[in-house]
Amino acid sequence: MSAGETDGGHAGREPGGHAGQESGGRLPVGVRFREYQARRGRGDGPPADEPGREFRSYYGRPILKAPVWKRDIPAYFFTGGLAAGSSMLAAGADLTGRPAMRRATRLASLAAMGASTYFLIHDLGRPNRFHHMLRIAKPTSPMSMGTWILALFGPASGIAAVAEVAPALPRRGVLGLARRALPVAGTTAGYLAAAVAPAVATYTAVLIADTAVPSWHEAYPQLPFVFAGSALASASGVALLAAPLAETGPASRLAVAGAAMELVASHRVENAMGIVSEPYRQGRAGRLLRAARGLTVAGAAGAVLGRRSRLVSALSGAALVAAAALTRFGVFEGGVASAKDPKYTVVPQRQRVEESTGAR
């Protein structure tokens, strides 16, 4: 029976039996839904208006409220990931004696954190109340956890970047003391930032997955990998852009690793979730993600093949940075589109109900 035909649907069903209970142990609904999708055949399935995708709604209107976040938020996902990845590269460069790469990535991390702070506060409905985020620490709120992760990461990444001014300071006097103390402080802070960085890069994926937005929530197993890979690729991009060829060996390797992680995970997001993958292939989200994919592939290839050319390396780096931004905007737009269309709320939930009432 299609979701659109409801006569007879009432007859055999217990009143109010919408909840899809199962006796005994309950599998998470996401798992059940994915299994169901797998049984129906992976991939695209029939387009929306073919039989089987017919659904009812209240005047075709969305059930969910779409996110009210402005462009600040996908922009922050990009800058936050860039800051995190850059801190990790900076620590690696510091450890393995690559001063130019360390300087570039530390400064990139600070700049990206500065931009992130602006985006995050600017997006609030009440920006002057941003400090209300610090009233509590709440494990069930990824945004609250993220606030505290950033509270650790931001200052650490900042100190590491400030330490880069040490060589410019005079050798004598108070500033001379600072000149000697700063590198140690910078290294310590840099390692701390690098230790927190993976959390900075991935919590944002949890943040958007932890919503009712169908195409975000269903993607929760993959999104952290999309964001982590994209963060690494973009930070490697910065290193390729700004550091001399002699130092960028690890960056070009990381560019490939990050790009691979991102491409594999986003391929699954875009294809393996049945109907809720659709919004990632259509409209603006689809265009953004296709462009991101092209740039990621080109950037990663250029990073390896062009590793002896300063120009090709720099171009590859720029491509990777741009790709990371496009990825975040694409994922963001895909989710918003899925929230605005009742199809992505009703059809999967209806399938779940039919499945569990049919299984009785």
Binding site: H18, D123, L232
Partner: protein, 345 residues
């Protein structure tokens, strides 16, 4: 940490010792007359701003959706189906099939400035709207002809109105509350979910988190607003304004246990009277949100009223989400370590 899923009494779980009984709403849509007294009473009591007057073309629904500026919303659906066992009203008149599906399909793109974000998004699916207004009998795609001009009067049907006063569900497991980073949203001693307007900083996280699309942001002040289940009134032993104003007792307020019993009896009575489409929605503590504090008796599928058919609180999967993020974070660290240390520089 509070429990994230399953049946639960929310107030003790939130740390109240000896809280009063959990209070809620039972909204029986079978006796709603669509007068909107609830919408008005709520605005009056809670000082909720109005918005411009627009005809949305959605039957008699010109509110459109629950928003930050409408904490009760009366949905209207017109369907060509005899109501109960009454005599066909149009017997012998040359009316033909109702125009309800065509009208619904037309209404899809209308919208109005609710003064809120995202407010009332236009619809995307005329065909889906037509199906809602086609009733249990699927009548095919809507026609653009006036009813009387169409042939086939032997097929004509009566019209029924589905009217439903929607409201925040005050979920047992409320995603809005779970994700709020400031603590502005909190659980009251009555088990309800309320926003503290002096704390909310308009981060907007609650808005896409709600599986029912209830909470919304007011443009004028940037904060999130929704039904408080009249926290001020019930604290003084009074009835919430909407339930007080409802002339048919379609909105019933009381201890949730009692309401659930009463609702079960009501469904039995309706079934006995031949109204077999009656079903409860949100009453079941075993459902995806642990049961709603405000639940409903419906006469059609939930999605016809704009309700999700099987909502699940998103935070149920949060532990899994953090696990996946942890694995991704480790993969990141490993990739960096290998890139720098794996091969000689």
């Amino acid at each position: 940490m509070n429990r994230l899923y399953g049946p639960l009494d929310p107030a003790p779980d939130a740390g109240y010792q000896d809280p009063p009984a959990r209070m809620g709403f039972f909204t029986d849509t079978s006796i709603c007359i669509g007068c909107k007294a609830c919408e008005v009473a709520c605005k009056e009591w809670n000082g909720v701003p109005g918005h411009e007057l627009t005809m949305l073309g959605m039957s008699f629904d010109n509110t459109g959706a629950l928003t930050a500026n409408s904490w009760r919303h009366v949905a209207f659906v017109e369907q060509p189906v005899p109501a109960g066992r009454q005599t066909p009203a149009f017997a012998g008149t040359p009316t033909g099939p109702t125009i309800a599906p065509a009208a619904a399909a037309d209404a899809v793109t209308t919208t109005t400035d609710t003064g809120t974000e995202p407010g009332l998004d236009p619809g995307r699916h005329p065909d889906s709207a037509a199906r809602m207004a086609a009733g249990p009998e699927f009548l095919g795609m809507p026609a653009s002809e006036l009813p009387g001009r169409q042939p086939g009067r032997e097929e004509r049907t009566d019209l029924r109105w589905l009217m439903m006063s929607d409201v925040c569900k005050h979920c047992t497991h409320a995603a809005c509350l779970d994700v709020c980073p400031t603590g502005a949203l909190f659980r009251t001693e009555f088990g309800t979910v309320v926003v503290q307007e002096d704390i909310c900083n308009g981060c907007g996280y609650c808005i896409p988190a709600c599986p029912y699309g209830v909470i919304d942001q007011r443009k004028t002040d940037g904060r999130a607003w929704k039904c408080t289940l009249c926290y001020d009134r019930i604290g003084d032993g009074m009835t919430p304004a909407c339930a007080q104003a409802c002339p048919t007792q379609s909105i019933q307020f009381g201890p949730l246990d009692e309401l659930r019993e009463r609702a079960a009896r009501r469904v039995e009575r309706l079934h006995a009277a031949g109204e077999t489409t009656a079903r409860l929605y949100g009453h079941d503590p075993e459902d995806g949100v642990g049961g709603d504090g405000a639940f409903f008796l419906l006469l059609d599928e939930p999605e016809v009223y704009g309700l999700p058919p099987d909502p699940v609180v998103t935070t149920r999967d949060l532990p899994d989400m953090w696990k996946r993020a942890g694995v991704a974070a480790l993969a990141m660290a490993a990739a960096v370590a290998v890139a720098f240390l794996g091969r000689p520089a």
